[in-house]
């Protein structure tokens, strides 16, 4: 049942739990209990809302920053990752394979805000060797949801 609940919640976080129970064909009380348990166990780590700020006319700047770092003895990348993710303007930090070590996503109100975070906070960290900042120009699809187009019912009536 856990997997059924999570599969649905992953894309429909705002569903009420009694409705969720109907949709997946399970008993309401057990669904509620399972969700509560999974929240306590941090299997469900949080609920977020995917917002198309652009439509509201609110300016936001997002950058994906490739960061190369020197891993530290005994802690690998964990300490430096923590030094970075502790800033509230950082929305995600991933350790990745490839040409850099950490992929850091930063959200700010303006270009200047983001770039000053990179130059003043990120680049100055002791173990950071280099950074490469990629500003996001347009979001086509985010979290599995297509942002760039409207869906319309084009079906015609026939037999």
């Amino acid at each position: 049942m856990r997997e059924k609940i999570l599969n649905y919640l992953e894309n429909h976080a705002s569903v009420s739990l009694d409705e969720l129970a109907v949709l997946i064909g399970e008993d309401e009380e057990s669904v509620k209990a399972e969700v509560k348990a999974m929240e306590a166990e941090n299997i469900i780590s949080g609920y977020t809302t995917l917002i198309n700020w652009e439509k509201l006319g609110v300016e936001k700047v997002t950058a994906m920053i490739e960061v190369r770092v020197t891993p530290q003895h005994g802690m690998g990348f964990d300490r430096i990752a923590k030094l970075i993710y502790s800033y509230p303007e950082v929305s995600s930090v991933y350790l990745i394979s490839g040409s850099c070590d950490l992929m850091v996503t930063i959200e700010g109100k303006t270009l200047r805000e983001v770039s000053s975070f990179v130059t003043e906070k990120l680049s100055t960290l002791e173990s950071v060797i280099s950074t490469q900042t990629n500003f996001i120009l347009k979001k086509y699809k985010d979290h599995g949801i297509v942002m760039a187009e409207e869906k319309k019912d084009n079906r015609e009536m026939m037999t």
Binding site: Y8, E19, V22, L23, G25, R155, M158, T159
Partner: protein, 385 residues
């Protein structure tokens, strides 16, 4: 001037599904639960194969029976999914949707006066296609207390020495009924006893929500008596690609192929290339769509129960068929008033045969959000009585 038309065609009524929707279309704020096709777009990987085939200039006819690669994939798919085994060389033919296959099969098998047993409520084309093929349609009225499954007693009652074919329209449009293995075994006995043939229309076979779908063609001694029809429209959300197929014993298929050859030539080439991808690599996409239909199905069953509208639980296709008898109106009246007063368009059960009287067909090939809006309105409507 002489009458340019044939008597046969003039006597055939046009389909009754669409008439409410012409009204709904012009009505501000109307919502429709009427469309009988998936609301999903064709999975992208299928579409991209279609595009790729065009880029590569695959714009010629294929062989009459369809691309051999596609027939081989159909053969593998049917074996893997439903445990039926058809030879890609001479037992499978690719058609313009399941609907062409129905027409061609009836024309290939009927002589004037042969009777065709058609359980109703069911899809609208079996009766006219039978008449156009010179056959005589004999209706078997299905009952709600049987969950609209065909029962051997009702079948045997209608068998005469002229009966040749039984149409098996399951999973069923418009009722959402299915036939499970035990139901089919009961049928198979009667069919063999009376030396009948079966035309099984399994276009909704991917959309069942109980046990795994079973086809009558997989039962002992039935393959040689069965024309098996399926297609890509419902399972892969490919209605507009117009692609289906028929599988039958060689002796039958060979004659069906003649009709197809002279009337159609071959199914659309682009669609055939796209369909290969559908069969090979789209199990996950199909499963995801099915799960979403199932969520909506559970939601509707729950809602109708909650508003006191009696409805047997449908386990197939994407339709639910609630009973509206307690309101003392005919289906058509109910549907008309629902449209006028609450602006929800549904289809009266009678569009699928007289035994659909007292029922309405609701399609859940709509997003959950749309269904919620429509169901709120239906709830308001039934609360008036």
């Amino acid at each position: 001037m002489r009458d340019p038309l044939s008597k046969t065609i003039k006597d055939i009524k046009p389909s009754g599904i669409r008439k409410f929707f012409d009204v709904a279309r012009t009505m501000e704020g109307a919502v429709s639960l009427g469309v009988g096709e998936p609301d999903f777009d064709t999975p992208w990987r299928i579409r991209s194969e279609g595009i790729y085939s065009l880029e590569n200039g695959r714009t010629f006819y294929t062989s009459n029976t369809g691309l051999i690669e596609l027939r081989q994939e159909i053969s593998k798919y049917l074996a893997r999914k439903y445990d039926i085994h058809y030879d890609a060389d001479d037992e499978i033919m690719v058609t313009i949707g399941g609907s062409e296959a129905i027409d061609v099969a009836l024309r290939a098998m009927l002589d004037p006066g042969d009777e065709v047993l058609i359980p109703q409520p069911s899809y609208v084309s079996y009766v006219p296609c039978t008449i156009l093929a010179g056959g005589v349609p004999v209706i078997i009225n299905l009952k709600e207390e049987d969950e609209f499954r065909l029962k051997s007693k009702d079948l045997e009652e209608k068998i005469t020495d002229k009966t040749k074919i039984l149409v098996l329209p399951y999973p069923n449009n418009p009722t959402g009924a299915i036939m499970e293995k035990k139901d089919l075994e009961e049928m198979a006995e009667v069919i063999k006893k009376h030396d009948l043939f079966v035309l099984t229309d399994e276009i909704y076979s991917e959309l069942t929500y109980k046990e795994k779908h079973v086809t009558i063609a997989s039962l002992p001694g039935m393959k040689e008596r069965t024309v098996y029809i399926n297609g890509f429209s419902k399972a892969f959300a490919m209605t507009g690609w117009r692609l289906g197929y028929a599988c039958a014993p060689k002796v039958i298929l060979k004659q069906m192929l003649k009709i197809h050859q002279f009337a159609i030539m071959c199914a659309p080439t682009t669609s055939q290339y796209a369909a290969i991808e559908a069969l090979k690599n789209c199990d996950d996409e199909v499963a995801a769509m099915k799960e979403e239909y199932n969520e909506r199905r559970r939601f509707l069953v729950h809602e109708f129960k909650d508003m006191g509208l009696p409805c047997f639980e449908p386990f197939g296709a994407f339709y639910i068929f609630p009973c509206i008898k307690k309101f003392g109106m005919s289906s058509e009246e109910f549907v008309n008033r629902l449209l006028q007063e609450e602006k929800v368009a549904v289809v009266p059960g009678t569009a699928f045969g007289d035994s659909g009287e007292g029922f309405i067909r609701i399609s859940y090939a709509y997003s959950l959000d749309d269904l919620k809006i429509a169901l709120d309105r239906i709830r308001k409507f039934v609360a008036k009585f």
